[in-house]
């Protein structure tokens, strides 16, 4: 993908069967990915929640006759126990705490695995790779018990701490650090740098692509958490926006209009962040995954 984005445009090849199939496939995939987002945006501009439901099965889902921002106004004035902005604030707090702590912890672990003299390093690395294949949902119940027993239920800590250390991000950092020349580490140790100083002053500033990749992946993951906050929060105090949106889906009625507007609002920060760093993200992700 990055190659397509960066290389100069090639002259169009003559149309043939293969190219037609290729183009149609790309178009269909793009449609599948974009249409729900487009539908969500259109629905958020419709005033009547029953109309939204009625339109969903037809092409009218992609069209709005009288667009209005009423839903956004209502969302701004309401949601559950707390103001909507507060849930957004909760989400941002969780996002920034998880990402900043995660960058430090995972990069430190990756650095020690790549360059430290750690007994059983190969075994630890294999365990980390093995852990990566275990889905988060499968450990959620034991994790819930641990967090509850630790007295952390209904706190921000419970939503940040379990996601700070990650086998995937530790491995990404490990892979990135391991491909940097050994002499940099050795030069720093001869210059008198401690292992902490070498990590902080030499390897971290050289790891901007890896830092960008991990920030974006971790950020998206933290922003989209839903199951875990629902399980671990009993009150609205520490609830993120993803859970707040669920309050629009009541037992008796579903406020599709507000839910759609809230979803759009929830998407905007992460979408802006992603679009701003898109090219960097794609190239760095490919880079960190392939080189090594």
């Amino acid at each position: 993908m990055s190659d397509l984005a960066l290389s100069p445009r090639k002259p169009a090849a003559p149309l043939n069967g293969y190219r037609i199939v290729q183009s149609i496939s790309v178009f269909v995939i793009a449609l599948v990915v974009i249409s729900p987002l487009f539908m969500l945006f259109i629905a958020s501009l419709k005033d009547d929640r029953f109309q939204i439901l009625a339109d969903m099965g037809s092409f009218r889902a992609f069209w709005v006759d009288n667009p209005t921002l009423n839903n956004f106004r209502e969302v701004g004035n309401f949601a559950g126990e707390l103001a909507f902005g507060r849930y957004l604030g909760n989400s941002l707090l969780i996002l920034f705490s998880t990402v900043s702590l995660g960058l430090i912890i995972n990069s430190m672990a990756g650095f020690i695995l790549a360059w430290g003299s750690l007994p059983g390093r190969a075994l630890i690395l294999s365990l980390i790779i093995a852990l990566y294949v275990i889905p988060q949902e499968s450990i959620i119940m034991p994790l819930l018990i641990i967090v509850s027993r630790a007295g952390l239920s209904d706190t921000f800590t419970a939503q940040i701490l379990p996601f700070v250390a990650s086998p995937l991000y530790t491995f990404l950092f490990y892979q990135f650090f391991a491909q940097l020349p050994k002499e940099l580490y050795e030069a720093a140790s001869i210059d008198g740098a401690s292992i902490f100083r070498t990590w902080w002053s030499i390897f971290m500033p050289l790891s901007l692509p890896a830092l960008a990749t991990v920030s974006i992946l971790m950020g998206i993951e933290a922003w989209n958490q839903y199951l875990w906050p629902i399980l671990i929060t009993q009150t609205d105090y520490a609830r993120p926006i993803s859970v707040a949106i669920a309050t629009f889906f009541g037992q008796d009625s579903i406020f599709w209009d507000r839910a759609m507007a809230a979803s759009v609002l929830m998407m905007i920060p992460i979408l802006v962040f992603y679009l701003a760093f898109q090219r960097w993200f794609i190239s760095s992700f490919v880079g960190s995954a392939v080189k090594g």
Partner: protein, 349 residues
Amino acid sequence: MASVSIDNVAKFYGSHQVIHGIDIDIADGEFVTLVGPSGCGKSTLLRMIAGLEEISDGDIRIGDRLVNDVPPKERDIAMVFQNYALYPHMTVAQNMGFALKLKGESRAAIDARVKEAAAVLALEPYLDRLPKQLSGGQRQRVAMGRAIVRSPQVFLFDEPLSNLDAKLRVQMRAEIKDLHQRLGTTTVYVTHDQIEAMTMADRIVVMKSGVVEQIGRPLELYDRPANLFVATFIGSPAMNLIKGRVGSGGFVGEGGVVLPLPARAGASAVTYGVRPEHLTLDESGFRAEVVVVEPTGAETQVLVRCGGQTLVAVLRERVDLNPGDSIGLKPDLTAVHLFGEDGRRLQQE
């Protein structure tokens, strides 16, 4: 400045031994070159002096201090790496001042020392540049600057000129030698290039397969190689070696060629060595057929064949020779080297 003493040092990787009990004493202020082919253990030995490799056996002392278990930063050494290992995100000044900053020196002191080193290496115009904005030679100078700002007891160089082109290599060679003469810091320099070793060092350590083959001053090694390996490794073009035995009329080569022997030559010699420049055109010498003539201007290199052996002669005079010509060659008997069955030099006076 300090002396470096390497006493019976060995290195094992698992059960594989790469350094076999090496003893070298480097005097205070001396420039010593470790030279040898790839895989001879010269870089490993340098890294052991630096503290980047553990010592499996033996002792290394810098000055009077045993440094076997001392971490690199406390050995008071500075190292210049083959790929420079400059910190890419730091400017030239920051690269050079990093070690001083870690020592907690004041900003003013760091600036002064960096400027002083930059002046020595003509790096003043580049202090605010990043390494990627510099040429290979400039990067090499920054790497040396990073080493000299610390005023270490010992400089360690690990093939520092390998990444430079031939012209720059010659220039940097002279600069490093000049720097050593001005600073007088004890220097250990690793290279696989025997010309570099010959031109720069006070003493050369020739290594092969983790063993020291010979230690000596450059011309000592050239004039009196201890064995066949040193004889062929030092000198370019390499020494001519002719296998054979000592007969009644001289040294009889395998193809039947008879070469004159110096007086009091050992009878056990099985290899006769003569450097290309010690063969001169002389009709009274042994006969040889010219194969290739390579005039370089200053001298003429002639590849000849005699009795199934191929030899090289370097002639200082201008000669008019053509492939197929039959010429007479005479070895300078004061510069003939004889080697025994075990490949060691036979003493002859």
